[in-house]
């Protein structure tokens, strides 16, 4: 089964149109050139679709790094569970 960080990387890779292997563990909007505002919109849409939830503005601001995205995913899985 895919771990949370692997799932986060797959979402991010899909949004950024990159190979998941090219997403470093410390990926963040500030450091990854391809992760711009429009790619972030794509990430929001993919995450909402994947979790079947509507993200809050807090979530959207938190998920500007891979670690933040993992935390948002974990929070929503808890809510769903």
């Amino acid at each position: 089964m895919m771990s949370e960080i692997q799932y986060a990387k797959s979402l991010l890779a899909d949004a950024l149109r990159l190979d998941p292997g090219r997403i470093p563990d410390d990926a963040a909007m500030k450091t990854l050139r391809q992760w711009d505002s429009l790619a972030h919109m794509e990430l929001i849409a993919l995450t909402e679709e994947g979790l079947a939830v509507t993200l809050t503005m807090d979530d959207i601001v938190r998920m500007t790094s891979l670690h933040g995205l993992v935390a948002v995913l974990a929070d929503h899985r808890k809510t769903v569970a």
Binding site: L38, M41, E42, I44, A45, T54, L55, T56, M57
Partner: protein, 248 residues
């Protein structure tokens, strides 16, 4: 969008086409909120319709942000916005018979761009920001015109309306992932007092004859299209022409 009980901002809604839209929205059980710079007409219309209204200069960035904040604070985040306000001014690029002023004035260019393009940018920026932050899957309908295709004698107006259509496509792409929709509506010549004041009768008659359906648009037809654009949740990033076949 389900219009029943939905807050929908209508700019320039105190008269003409905007008023027809506000009335149609009310008939569809939505709650129109009118933004207009003419306070006197605004008071008359909002009293008659029993809906909220705010007086504002839509070309003033600070005033637009303030009025949208006031609307949201008092009534909540709107589900819809209809960018209807604008002005119609015509002038050719060159008037060679006019020895004193042969060139299109920059002042007129700036006035028309501010009223028809910058205002749409400012209001949409403020409202879309609120919608996105509150995760409201709102709809923004902006009035274009057949002039967007390029009407002789309307350099500034045509440029502004083409700009509105381009912004509609850009915003649909940018904010579609958040569920926001953007639609432009491009009427032909609409039979309103302001059209009759701005366009000479013989020219209007020629336009009527050039229209496939041989008649000018009625405000109600445009309002019905705006309602359709608000309600149909698969329409975005496009321009709906309502011109009776004037431009094909």
């Amino acid at each position: 969008m389900n219009l029943a009980g939905a807050l929908v901002l209508v700019t320039g809604g105190a008269s003409g086409l905007g008023l027809a839209m506000a009335e149609s929205l009310q008939q569809a059980e939505a709650i129109p909120i009118i933004l207009d710079r003419d306070r006197e007409m605004l008071d008359t219309v909002t009293t008659r319709l029993g809906c909220p209204g705010f007086a504002v200069d839509l070309t003033d960035s600070v005033a637009v942000d303030a009025v949208v904040a006031a609307v949201c604070e008092k009534h909540g985040t709107p589900l819809g916005l209809v960018n209807n306000a604008g002005i119609l001014r015509s002038a050719p690029l060159l008037s060679l018979g006019n020895a004193e002023n042969p060139r299109h004035s920059l002042e007129l260019w700036n006035e028309v761009l501010a009223a028809n393009l910058t205002s749409v940018f400012l209001v949409t920026r403020a409202v879309a920001d609120r919608m996105a932050r509150r995760r409201v899957r709102g709809v923004i309908v902006s009035m274009s015109s057949v002039s967007a295709k390029g009407n002789a004698g309307q350099t500034a107006y045509s440029a502004a309306k083409a700009g509105v259509e381009a912004m509609t496509r850009v915003w649909a792409k940018e904010l579609g992932p958040l569920g926001l929709r953007f639609v432009a509506v491009a009427p032909g010549y609409v039979d309103t007092p302001s059209t009759r004041a701005a366009v000479p009768e013989d020219i209007l008659e020629n336009l009527r004859r050039e229209t496939a359906l041989r008649r000018l648009c009625k405000p109600e037809s445009i309002a019905a299209t705006v309602i359709f654009a608000l309600q149909n949740d698969m329409i975005t990033g496009t321009t709906l022409s309502v011109d009776g076949g004037l431009v094909m």
